[in-house]
């Protein structure tokens, strides 16, 4: 069934699709968004149930689509020398249902990695160009924080004051001070005061599985609420099979399945794909035609290539005093960028952030926490459990991943989703640079925890890569070396745009959601300004 032509057809209602749609709707565009998941009712989050922690291993709110296996999930085949454990959520709001709320920005140097450090590629845009959109995104999402961080460019007063640091935040802060290392209370997209018709965070914790009261910014309660009021149309349970094109290679719209398996077609004068760093290349590669036999917008052969995930390592310190890491929002109370910028004396380029993160409850700790060191069974069980819980502070080392063509997303020749659409296969391996970086980060995190008074250190080692899906349709000026230009417009199809983590030229060493939102707002301005072009 063919439907009325939208000014802009958006595919995917996560962080990027939401910001883009709201901005375009404000500018006067008639936007239709196809989303393969549904709306999530806040009271269905597991945070009122005593067995809430089992979602770490199984259940409808598990982080992995391969575990959840909801209708709206598609399987992801995970391979390579370090096969990733891909995390994403499919719903209106996308993976912002499942995130810490940590809201850092890129540094100016992150946009100039080739010029400054001789690796990867420069972005075609600068921090200064993106800065006003970071500010706009902060206001739309609602941020708690405090200005003055000497390790980041200045920014305007945060919409709400900082969240409590908690005992763990104050303790590790003293450790960093002792070493003379930089640290700062992190910006979080979790409001500490009532803001924009949303209630203040009540510090329950558990919000990695979704915030039941709407204080953490998932885009269904921020952007979508407003965009829908202004006339944007979201069509949930709409699984896109392919983007259609005319004989001249112009995008026409999308063919999608509903939950009953019926096919529909939605037309759009402009088509924007916001399907994340795996979903977007998957859709482009599944949209083969006579005009584009290798997949849509893939004349460079780079669709799906240069897949980046942030290398992570977790270090936990066991303290004598209770740290109660389960109190307060899961979002990161503080972070350190002491080792963020390139230092030629180290055996790796670029750098990493330390994230001081809160945690789950007693079951997670007994199972082994983030370091996968289960509390022993038997006679010593109660004693070790009492020593660890709730006495742990965790530092996560989040490193910058550099793009490599061999790390990639492609179509699996056999595995398909429940609608018969070929599934993505992800091939990934850590580089030597990443491994050296994690080694350094692990040693420095240990030092920080010991300076803060830790009695015992538990180390995850190099973990299975999992977080943040980036780089698979990257941005650049050269059509041979990139898939989209600085306005997210594909080099090959002038009315097709890609707006999500896939367009990142590099990954930086920060969580990406703030940058995805800022880029989407900027892309909306560009799309609307150039719509007649």
């Amino acid at each position: 069934m063919q439907q009325e032509t939208a000014d802009v057809l958006v595919i995917g209602a996560g962080a990027g699709g939401a910001a883009l749609t709201k901005r375009l709707t404000d500018l006067g565009a008639k936007v239709v968004c196809l989303e393969q998941g549904g709306w999530v009712k806040p009271s269905d989050y597991p945070s009122t149930r005593p067995d809430w922690e089992i979602q770490i291993r199984r259940g409808a709110f598990n982080f992995s689509p391969n575990v959840r296996k909801r209708w709206e999930d598609y399987p992801v085949v995970e391979t390579g020398t370090h096969p990733p454990d891909v995390l994403m959520f499919n719903a209106v709001g996308g993976s912002t249902h499942h995130w810490t709320g940590h809201f850092p920005r890129f540094h100016p140097s992150d946009f100039r990695v080739r010029t400054l450090d001789g690796v990867a590629e420069d972005w075609p845009i600068s921090y200064q160009e993106l800065e006003p959109y970071y500010e706009m995104n902060d206001c739309e999402m609602g941020v708690a924080g405090i200005t003055g961080d000497p390790a980041n460019p200045p920014r305007t007063k945060r919409p709400t004051p900082p969240l409590p640091l908690g005992t763990l935040g104050e303790t590790i802060g003293r450790g960093f001070d002792k070493l003379g290392w930089y640290w700062w209370p992190s910006d979080n997209a979790i409001i500490s005061q009532a803001y924009d018709n949303r209630p203040a965070c009540e510090l329950h914790g558990k919000c990695m599985f979704g915030c039941a009261i709407g204080s953490k910014a998932s885009t269904d309660v921020t952007y979508w609420r407003k965009a829908v009021r202004k006339g944007a149309i979201v069509k949930p349970w709409s699984r896109v099979r392919e983007i259609t094109v005319d004989k001249q290679g112009k995008a026409l719209g999308a063919i999608y399945y509903d939950r009953q398996g019926q096919l529909h077609e939605q037309l759009g004068r402009i088509v924007v794909v916001c399907g994340n760093g795996i979903g977007t290349p998957r859709l482009l590669l599944n949209s083969k035609s006579q005009v584009f036999p290798n997949g849509l917008a893939n004349s460079s052969g780079l669709v799906g290539k240069n897949f980046m995930l942030h290398p992570f390592r977790f270090i936990e310190g066991v303290f004598e005093a209770p740290m109660n890491a389960y109190d307060g929002p899961f979002g990161i109370p503080a972070f350190s960028q002491q080792f963020y910028e390139t230092d030629s004396k180290r055996n790796f380029l670029r750098g990493y952030s330390f994230l001081l993160e809160r945690s789950f409850g007693p079951l997670h700790h007994a199972w082994g926490g983030f370091v996968n060191k289960p509390v022993p069974w038997g006679a010593s069980h109660h004693e070790v459990m009492r020593r660890r819980f709730p006495h742990i502070i965790r530092i996560s080392v989040l490193g910058e991943d550099l793009p490599e063509e061999n790390n990639r997303v492609e179509l699996d020749p056999e595995v398909k989703d429940s609608s018969g659409i070929p599934a993505p296969r992800v091939v990934y391996g850590y580089s030597e640079n990443s491994l050296n970086m994690l080694e350094h980060g692990g040693a420095m995190a240990r030092q920080a925890l010991e300076a803060a008074g830790a009695l015992e250190i538990l180390d995850s080692g190099v973990i299975q890569p999992a977080f943040h899906l980036l780089g698979t349709a990257r941005m650049g000026t050269d059509p041979k070396k990139s898939v989209v230009n600085g306005w997210h417009q594909t080099h090959d199809v002038k009315n097709l745009y890609l707006v999500d983590g896939s367009s990142f030229a590099t990954s930086a060493a920060v969580n990406p959601t703030s940058t995805i939102g800022a880029l989407a707002l900027r892309a909306a301005d560009g799309i609307w300004k150039n719509r007649r072009g």
Binding site: D149, L203, V221
Partner: protein, 185 residues
Amino acid sequence: MNWTRRDFLATGLASTASPSLVFEIEAAPAKRGPSVGTLTENETRTLKAAIDEIIPTSDRMPSASDAGGVAYISKLVEHEPTVSGDLRRSLVALDNSASEKFKKPFDQIDRESRIELLGNLEKSSPHVFAMLRDSTYESYYTQPRIWKLIGYEFYSTDHAGPHMKPFDEAVLTEMRKRPKYYREA
């Protein structure tokens, strides 16, 4: 108006939407699968004996079975196909090794021998053993009465959250003195 937590929970998101829209509010809660088989009496006895060695009684903490572990894990076996296979394999392995080595069922051998056989299983079939151990932990640490004993406050999101000391800017005194620490580009 500013929304309160109660407003938010009571209405979900539906009241914020344009009435012309159809909001398909559907959270797809975890579905219980069909029963994949119940534990036999023998398996249940082995289970009780095994989990009480994994989490034994201490001066102030109950054992796993005293905290309801047998009923909890029996339900897991019945309804969670992703865990039931390894759980049952662990019980069969323990019983078989007890019969082989001690000519008795696992629940009738002494504690020292049970610990020995559990240790052997942990070494020979770490994945199978981990399922038994982790299911025991799950049965224990999802119980509110255990939370009370270990001092864990749950703070369900339909009730008030914890009190935490508000952010104190004094913690940034040192950092505010520091020079800029990022590269311009």
